[in-house]
Each structure stands twice: as C-alpha cells, then as structure tokens.
C-alpha cells in the first residue's frame, strides 16, 4: 500500500507539470507551428491531468494523499512549505477544472481559429489551468494564495485579450483591481491565521481550530476576512460588478474562467475552511444573507439585460449566490454539489452562446436575434437542455442541486427558503426569456448577417453535446434521500466535512412529506415563470405597455452600482491624488515657498535666483518633520 501511495502522490506533481509545460510550449514556440498542433497539444496538456484526476479521485477517501515539494522556511516553530495534497474535496475540484477545462480547450480550437493570437490564447489558457490547479491542490494557505492570485492574473490577461478594444482594457483592469480588494482580505486572513496557529498548513490549522470553542473572536476575524476574499473572486455583494464587464473577453474564456472554474474558487475556499466557519456562526449567518441577497439582486438585473453574455454573467453571479447561501446554512456538500452541476450547465450555456455569437458574426444583442432554432438546431437543443437544467426542472442536474440547497435553507429558516424560491422563479423566467428571444419567434437582425447563419463546426459541437449529456445526468451524483437512494457526493465528501458538521450538529431533518411539498411548490413556481416568459417574450403580450415601468428601471440600470462604485472609490482616490498633485504639490508648495522666501533670509533666497526649485521648502519641511516627531514622542504618549 505504501508504494501505491508513493506512486499516487507523484500524480499531484504531474497534474501541475503538464499545463505548465503546455503554457511554456505554446508561449515560446506557438508562433512557429501550425495552429491545429498548438490547439491539440494545449488540450492534451489538460486532458492528461484529467485522467490523473480520475485516478486520484478513485483513490482518496479518509486517507489524504500529500506531497511535500520543498520546505520553504523551517525555523524553530516557524514553518512554511510548498506542499500539495488531495482529499475528496480536492479531487472533485480537480475533475471539474480539468474535465470542463479540457472540453473548453477543444471548443476553443475551432472558436479561435481565425484569431491571429491563437497561440498566445492557448498559452494563457494553459497557464490559467495551471494556477487553478495549484489553487485547489495546495495544502496550505500560502500556496493556495499563489494560485488564487495567479488565476486573477490570467483572468486579467484573457479579459484584455482583444486589447484593440478600449472597453476590454477597462474591464480587465476593473476585474483585476476588484479582485485585489478581495485579495486584501484573504492576505490579511493569512497573516492572522499565521499569528494565531503558527502555521499555514491546512492540516495543522484545522486540527488546532477544532479544539477551539465556537464564537472565538480570532476565528471570527479570520473567517470574515477569508469571506471578503471570497466575495472578490466569486463576485458576491459588494464586489460583483467586475464579472459582467469581464464578459469582454473571448467567449470560451467566459465559459472557463468566469463561469465554471475561477469564480467558484471562493466557494471552494470556504468549503475547504469549513471547520473554521463552523466555529463562527455569526459569519456563517452573514454569508447566508449575502449569498441570498446576491442571488436575488443578480437575478433581478439579469431579467432586463439585452446582451446574451451579460444575462449569463448575472445568472452566474446569482447561482454563486445560491452556493454561498448553502455554505451559510452549513450545507457544504450542497454548495459543492451545486458548484459541480453549475460548472457543467453554465459552461454549456456559455459555449452555446459562443456558438450563437459565432454564427451571427459577433452579434451579442438578443434583440437582434430570434428564430435561430431553425438554422442552428444542435445549438438550440443543447441550450434548451441547459436552460431546463439551470431552471431546476427534474430530472435534470440543476434540479437536484438546487433542491438540496433550497431544503437546507428551509431547515435553517423558512424565510430564506421563500427568498430562494423567488430567485429560482426569476432564474427560470430570465433563462427562458433568453431562450425565446434568441431561438424562437422571428429573426430581427439584419439581412446581411442572416445569410451567413450556420451551425458551428464539429469540433465546437462535440464538447457541447458532451456537456449537455452531463448536464442531464449530473444529478445522479447526489440523488436525494427521498428518492430512496444514497447521496453519493455526501458520502464521498463526508471525510472532509465530518468535523465541521459535528460542530454544527445538524439534527433537524425534514420529513419526506415536507420535502415533497417544497419540491412541488418550487416546480410549480418555475413552470409558471416559464409560461409567463413564453407569453411575454414569444406571444408578445403587452404586460409592460411599451415602456418599462419605473420600478424596473432600477433593475435595468443594475441598481446604478457601477456609477456608485465609480464615484465612491475610483473618483475619490483620484481626487485625493489630484489634490496632492495639483493643490499640495503645485499650489501649496508654491504658496508656502513664496511665503517662506520672505522669512528665510540670505542663503536660501539667493539660491532661488540660480535655480527654480524649492530646496529651502524641503529643508523647512524637514525641520517641521523633526518637530512633528518630537511632538509625537513627548506630547502624545
């Protein structure tokens, strides 16, 4: 058994090496070889880790596979190392990242074939996979942070990929900076963890933490700061506005980074630290509230967006909100389950949307689409499957994961459940609005583009079909108990969440009749929403009278959040900087120097004639500085 384990932990390293090699290869030699070869190699560099991940996933359970690469610092009780590990939670994430990542790589070969920077694109994509794998495979907070920042960097590079467009640049910058605000929280949490536990290794930290009592104030701050980090990466209130703008990048990027993998890093991080969160019930409560609020806010905005990718972006934020709500009520497995199914159907939605955009020659406005179902049948079909999955209609995958979250919410607080249901109804409504406007009815675009509408090539279609199949059957990972089966994912992940669920001791379980009522309510709600959507957007019943009522203007304008942030943060910082530059540096210094010039006699003054600088002012400031230091020391002590 020992030798077996030795072999397996080498896999941890190999999983990382392939995407890294792929990145270096495409980056260095990509321009000299044919595009197809670059694409195939880059996809292979993700496929091999996928195979390894399957092997790992089959072999982890109670026993954690770990690999210490090298000791970073070891001094007395001060210890940081570069080490990797895999437990069931890691294995699940590995499968998602490499599996979905591989399909998206294949899809991109066709999608990006006309792009002049083809090899640069694939090198970034492989680099992203590399960092994402570091993030999930790390066994301490520092290495995790390296992956965390690395994916942020790749996201920045890929959003700004088509840098000809000014809007893309701003979007890229916004994403990076917003993420950094979140990272600030993460980094502070790392320092706090380190000073508290004297280690950053998950095993040590979590083992020590489980000895602590619930409600410890240090744990409170650590978890709160980690959560702030998670809100940045996973686009939750208040740091969500970057995600819709991030859609400026190529569509496969949106699918991979801004829907299926990177944005789920926050969920993963909190699930990973579940033991800490179990000890901080106040923060858990906050997460539940933020999560459900984000789910509703983003869903309400999605209803009125007219850009196909923006709708999907807000839908992603909203679904992430559900995952956070699940984490908040302690349903860690539920959150991971929804993360998994969401990765499948959201990747599918984006790739299908990419196929639509591709066939329309770059058009993204859904008001200029319509009736596409006749021309691009496969895309229409898979898109419909994804819509059904995300809306939560049985027996598609989204139904099971969303249902699990909703019943967890109900166990905690029926009010949360009601909000959750409202969000689910809105989800079904806007998703089918999207479906009807894009694929049904009559075509509303220009004649010119209509001529070119065509189904995408096979390389793009095959990943779509695979994802569609998975979106349909993904639910078997977690068939609920009322169906008389074992919850596979629950069992699989139970070693990871064992301690935290013991602390939270979830005892209250719904009886089966209650479950049925909840489920039937939600299904009926969702079906009604779909019918409403059908009436309004396909049959064109004038519900809103031509003009959108004032209340909905708020949704349409996205609650003016961008404007508010622009004003609060960007403007104010620049204003402060301007203040220093124009007022302090130019005006005040000028004024003071002129004033001081009168005071300071001879030397300084004469020098002013031979130079235009303000040296005497500098000297004056230094003297003031010394006085200030004396003042600080002797008066304020």
């Amino acid at each position: 058994m020992v030798s077996m384990e030795n072999n397996l932990n080498i896999l941890l390293l190999l999983i990382l090496l392939f995407p890294l090699a792929g990145f270096l290869f495409s980056g260095l030699f990509g321009k000299t070889i044919s595009k197809l070869v670059v694409g195939i190699l880059a996809s292979t560099a993700v496929f091999i880790p996928f195979v390894f991940s399957i092997i790992l996933a089959a072999n982890v359970s109670e026993n954690v596979i770990s690999l210490r690469l090298f000791e970073w610092i070891h001094f007395q009780n001060f210890n940081i190392s570069f080490s990797l590990m895999a437990d069931p939670l890691t294995a699940l994430m590995l499968l998602i990242v490499t599996g979905v990542g591989f399909l998206i790589h294949v899809y991109s070969i066709a999608y990006m074939q006309d792009d002049e920077s083809f090899s640069r694109f694939f090198s970034y994509m492989n680099l992203f996979i590399f960092f994402m794998l570091i993030l999930v495979i790390s066994s301490n907070f520092l290495v995790m942070f390296i992956g965390w920042e690395g994916v942020g960097l790749c996201s920045y590079l890929l959003i700004g990929f088509w840098y000809g467009d000014h809007e893309n640049n701003n979007a890229a910058k916004k994403a990076f900076i917003m993420n950094r605000i979140g990272d600030l929280g993460f980094l502070l949490a790392i320092f706090l963890i380190f000073t508290t536990f004297n280690s950053l290794e998950f095993s040590t930290v979590f083992a020590n933490a489980s000895q602590m009592i619930s409600g410890n104030s240090t744990i409170f701050w650590i978890t709160l700061l980690l959560f702030i980090g998670a809100t940045g990466k996973s686009a939750q209130i208040p740091l969500y506005t970057w995600l819709p703008d991030a859609m400026a990048g190529p569509t496969p990027v949106s699918a991979l980074i801004h829907a299926a993998t990177m944005v789920t890093a926050g969920v993963y991080m909190i699930a990973r630290s579940s033991i800490l969160y179990a000890l901080a019930p106040e923060v858990l409560g906050l997460i539940a509230i933020v999560g459900i609020a984000t789910a509703l806010l983003a869903a309400s905005i999605a209803i009125f967006q007219n850009d196909i990718k923006k709708v999907l972006a807000y839908s992603t934020i909203s679904q992430l909100g559900y995952m956070f709500a699940a984490l908040g009520v302690g349903a860690f497995t539920g959150a991971m389950f929804h993360l998994t199914t969401h990765a499948l159907f959201k990747a599918l939605l984006f790739l299908a949307a990419g196929s639509v955009i591709h066939s329309l020659g770059g058009e993204q406005n859904i008001n200029k689409m319509g009736g596409l179902s006749k021309k691009i049948k496969v895309t229409t079909f898979v898109f419909l499957i994804a819509c059904i999955a995300i809306s939560g209609i049985p027996p598609f995958s989204g139904f099971f994961s969303k249902d699990e979250i909703l019943s967890s919410l109900f166990e905690k607080n029926p009010l949360l459940w009601i909000l959750g249901i409202i969000g689910a109804i809105m989800t079904a409504f806007y998703m089918f609005r999207l479906y009807f406007l894009v694929f049904k009815g009559t075509y509303r675009g220009s004649e010119e583009t209509a001529k070119h509408i065509h189904e995408s090539s096979k390389i793009m279609i095959i990943p779509l079909i695979i994802l569609a199949l998975l979106s349909i059957i993904g639910g078997i990972l977690g068939l609920p108990e009322w169906m008389g089966s074992r919850h596979f994912l629950q069992n699989y992940l139970s070693p990871v969440f064992k301690n935290s669920s013991q602390i939270l001791h979830e005892t209250k379980h719904l009886v089966i009749s209650e479950e049925y009522i909840l489920i039937i309510t939600s299904i009926i709600g969702v079906l009604i929403a779909i019918v409403c959507s059908w009436f309004i957007y396909l049959k064109r019943y004038k519900v809103f009278d031509a003009k959108i009522p004032v209340v909905f203007r708020i949704f349409e304008k996205k609650y003016w959040m961008d404007e508010i942030y622009q004003f609060l943060f960007v403007k104010s910082t620049l204003w402060l900087s301007d203040f220093f530059y124009q007022i302090v540096e130019i005006k005040w210094i000028d004024a003071i120097v002129n004033g001081v010039g009168v005071l300071v006699v001879s030397t300084g003054r004469r020098l002013r004639y031979i130079q235009n600088g303000y040296t005497e002012f500098y000297v004056f400031m230094m003297v003031l500085g010394i006085i200030a230091l004396l003042f600080i020391n002797f008066l304020i002590r």
């Binding site: 920042e149 960097l153 900076i177 990272d183 320092f191 900087s577 020391n633």
Partner: protein, 473 residues
C-alpha cells in the same frame, strides 16, 4: 596588518585598491581611448564582488571602530551585486560623446560612495558611521550633477548637497547628544547604557531624522523626486536602489544594536512614519507621467514597507528586511534598466511613450511587467514573498492595523504599476517606439534581474541563510 585583518576589511580595502588602480589608469590612458576604462572598471569590480563572497570572518578592528559579521558581509555582497547591475546598465550612456572625457570620474565617484556605505554598514562607532555617511553623500552630489551641462542635473546636485547638509547637521547634533549623555560613541557601550529619558530620546529623534533623510521617509522625502528626476537615469537607479538599500541596512543595524533598549519609542515613531510614507508615496505616484519621477515616488512608498519589517523587532523582522532589500534590488533595477535602455535609445521617458511597446519590443515589455509585478507584490514573483515576510513580521508583533494599511497601500500601488503595464500591452499607439536591439551589457543586467525576480522567490535557501545570520532584540 596581517592577513586576517585584511580578510575582515576586504570589501573596503579591495574597493579602495580598485579605485586607486582606476585613478592610475585614468592618468595613463590617452583621451582618445578613454572608453577602455569601462571594461577595466567593470572587470575589477567583478573581481571585488567575487572576493566579497570568499569565506567570512567576523571580528573588529581599530579598537571596535570597525566591526564585521556574516550579516554585514552579506549586506555588502548584496549591494555589490546591485552595483554591478547598475554598472552594466550604464555602459551605453557612458559611451556617449559628451561623457567620453569623464568616464573614469563616474566610476571613481561611484566607488567612493560605495566605500562610504560599506564603512557605515561595518561601523562600530558613531564617528565611523558619520565618516562613512559623509563619504557616501558628498561625492553623490557630484554624481547627480554628472551631466553638468544639463541644468536639471546640476540643479539636482545642488539640491542634494543642500538638503544633505542639513540632514548631516541634524544627525551630528543627535550624535553629540548621544555622546553627551552616555560618554561614548561606541555602539556596544551606548547600546548598554541608553535609556528612554528625555534627553536621550531627543538624541535618538535627531539621529533618526538624519537617517530618515537618507532613506527618504516622509516628511524627509521631498528632495527625492527632484533629485531623482534631475540625475542621469543610472545615477537615479543607484540612488534609489543601492543607496536606499544601504541606508535601510544601516538603520536596521543601528536600531537593533544601539537602540535596543528603547524599542517602544522607535516602534511608535516608525508606525507613524511608515503609514505616512506608504500613503503619501503612493498618492503622489499615481499621477506621475515621467517614468523616473514615477519610480522615484514608488520607491518612497517601498521604503515605507521596509519599516514594517523593522517594526517586528525580532529575527523575523530583520530577516524580512534583508530579504526584501535583496528582492527589491532586482525588481527595481529591472524596471530602471528598461527605462534607461529606452531613454538612451529614444530619449523618451514619459508613460505615454510606452504605449504599444509590447508590439515592437515584446521582451523589454515583459521584463518591465515582471519587475513591476514584483514591485507590486504579485505572486509568484519574488516581490510577493518580500512583502509577505515584511507583513508577517509586523503581524507577528501584533501590528494588525498597520498591516491592514500596508495591504491597502499595496493594492493602491498595484493600480499605478498596472497603468504602465496597460500602456505597454494594451494602449494603442500609431507611432510606438520602434524595435531596437538592446546593447549587450544592459542585456546581461536585465537577465540578472529577471533571474533574480524569479529564482529568489522560490529558493528558500536565501531566506534561510539570512535568517541563520540575523539576530533580533
């Protein structure tokens, strides 16, 4: 003087010999072939660098005036390495027509200041420290005014010498108060009897203010931007990297040995100064268009971060400062190297000029991006670890709010570093800087920087070595 003494003092001695050889060479080489000085000087300096790495001996000389341990040797080696990079970057500039007759002056003056810094690092007494300080400062003004025909350069020299004169006076006043209250100038004696009574606190504050000028901490930083902008680029990089690094080392040693009895007093002071230095340096940097001025202000902010390591008055703090300066040398010299290469090729030094640089000069842009990311502290490049350890040191001493402010500042700094990256990679430009070939010495220097930025972060051996030779309070 026996061999052992020579080994103890070898950095200063060898460098002095190198300087003397250069003086003789300058006299014996005709005006036409002055450029031959460059390979001679760089060659000799490389030998000096290698001698510095020979096995270390600790000890003191001249009755304790001069002392050295593995820590001091390491600091000097780090500085020597940085200076070598600066010399490589200067070659193209020195070969310009107007500099031809004064090539050797550059080396002579620069080496003199370096000797001064090394004496400061090794000083065991305030007198020695002061001598070293003057040796490091007065020739520096000549170096800043090297382009004497350019008004700005001459002006910068005058500004430096004027403000330095005041700071020296302040420092000297502090030293005289220290001598007056303790009856000694030797570090070990002063260190053991120093207390926090009012007069000695006053002495400390004056001394500290003088040092703060050298590292350009707020509010003693005002000279920095003008001098950095006026001086020739390579002198600026020498000032902002080597000189600043040396001063940080010296402050570290003095605070940790001489003023170890009044830790609380200087921790309070450093707290205020660290916050203001980081914040003001950052806010000024945001709006700078001139790349030299931009890097100048960003280096002020960086100095503020160094203080965080000092705040953790223990071995972690000391190690993190040495490590940070080590990393900072590579990242900042990388950035300065690109700026200087571009300036001497095209005479352009504004941020707008960098628009679209990636399309014409991808390698330079990548190096610049790496250096800036390292300065901003983005993993996995070395700068991240440098900042990370500084923050850890401060957090371990319980300065959570300070760490919070520092991380906030690091985020702001990311914004303006990103502006340059954006200019190079993303902004459009109809007339970007055309493709050109970088001269070989500059290329070597940039390669050293890139290797440093990458390797140092992942080679724990450096951190562990610094830790093994460091000490805390």
């Amino acid at each position: 003087m026996n061999l052992e003494n020579f080994l103890i003092m070898r950095h200063e001695l060898v460098l002095t010999i190198v300087t003397l050889i250069l003086l003789i060479a300058e006299l014996s080489i005709s005006d036409k072939s002055k450029h031959k000085i460059i390979p001679i000087a760089i060659g000799l300096f490389t030998i000096n660098l290698i001698i510095g790495f020979l096995p270390t001996i600790s000890g003191s000389l001249f009755g304790g005036m001069y002392q050295t341990t593995a820590l001091q040797v390491t600091m000097k080696n780090i500085l020597n390495l940085g200076v070598l990079v600066v010399l490589f970057q200067s070659v193209k500039w020195l070969k310009e027509e107007e500099n031809k007759i004064k090539i050797s002056e550059f080396f002579l003056i620069l080496f003199s200041t370096l000797i001064g810094m090394q004496f400061m690092i090794s000083s065991g007494s305030f007198l020695m420290l002061y001598l070293g300080l003057e040796l490091a400062t007065i020739p520096m003004a000549a170096l800043v005014a090297y382009d004497r025909l350019r008004t700005k350069s001459a002006e910068a020299g005058v500004k430096l010498i004027l403000s330095a004169a005041l700071s020296s006076a302040v420092l000297l006043f502090g030293i005289s108060l220290i001598y007056g209250t303790t009856g000694s100038t030797y570090f070990n004696i002063v260190g053991s009897v120093f207390t926090s009574n009012s007069l000695q606190t006053l002495a400390f504050i004056f001394f500290f203010s003088g040092m703060a000028f050298k590292i350009s901490l707020v509010p003693f930083h005002l000279w920095t931007a003008d001098v950095y902008e006026g001086a020739p680029i390579n002198v600026t990089s020498y000032l902002s990297v080597i000189s600043k690094g040396a001063s940080a080392f010296i402050l570290l040693i003095v605070l940790f040995t001489v003023f170890k009895n009044i830790v609380e007093i200087w921790q309070n002071l450093l707290y205020v100064i660290a916050v203001s230095t980081m914040t003001i340096g950052n806010l000024f940097a945001i709006r700078q268009q001139n790349m030299k001025r931009f890097l100048a202000f960003s280096s002020i902010a960086q100095a503020g971060f160094i203080l965080l390591g000092l705040m953790g008055a223990n071995i972690t703090g000391m190690t993190s400062v040495v490590y940070f300066v080590f990393v900072y040398i590579f990242s900042n010299l990388g950035a300065f190297g690109v700026v200087s290469v571009i300036y001497y090729q095209t005479s352009k030094e504004n941020m707008d000029d960098y628009n679209g640089l990636y399309h014409t000069n991808p390698k330079l842009s990548l190096i610049m991006m790496l250096s800036l990311f390292s300065l901003a502290g983005i993993p996995p490049v070395a700068g991240f670890f440098g900042k990370f350890f500084l923050f850890t040191a401060a957090a371990a001493s319980g300065y959570y709010w300070l760490v919070f402010i520092a991380v906030l500042n690091a985020t702001i700094s990311l914004y303006y570093y990103l502006l340059v990256v954006k200019a190079m990679f993303i902004n459009k430009n109809d007339t970007p800087i055309a493709y050109f070939k970088t001269d070989t010495p500059a290329k070597i220097s940039l390669i050293i920087c890139v290797i440093g930025v990458f390797i140092v972060g992942f080679m724990s051996i450096f951190y562990q070595y610094f830790q093994s030779i460091g000490f805390g309070i």
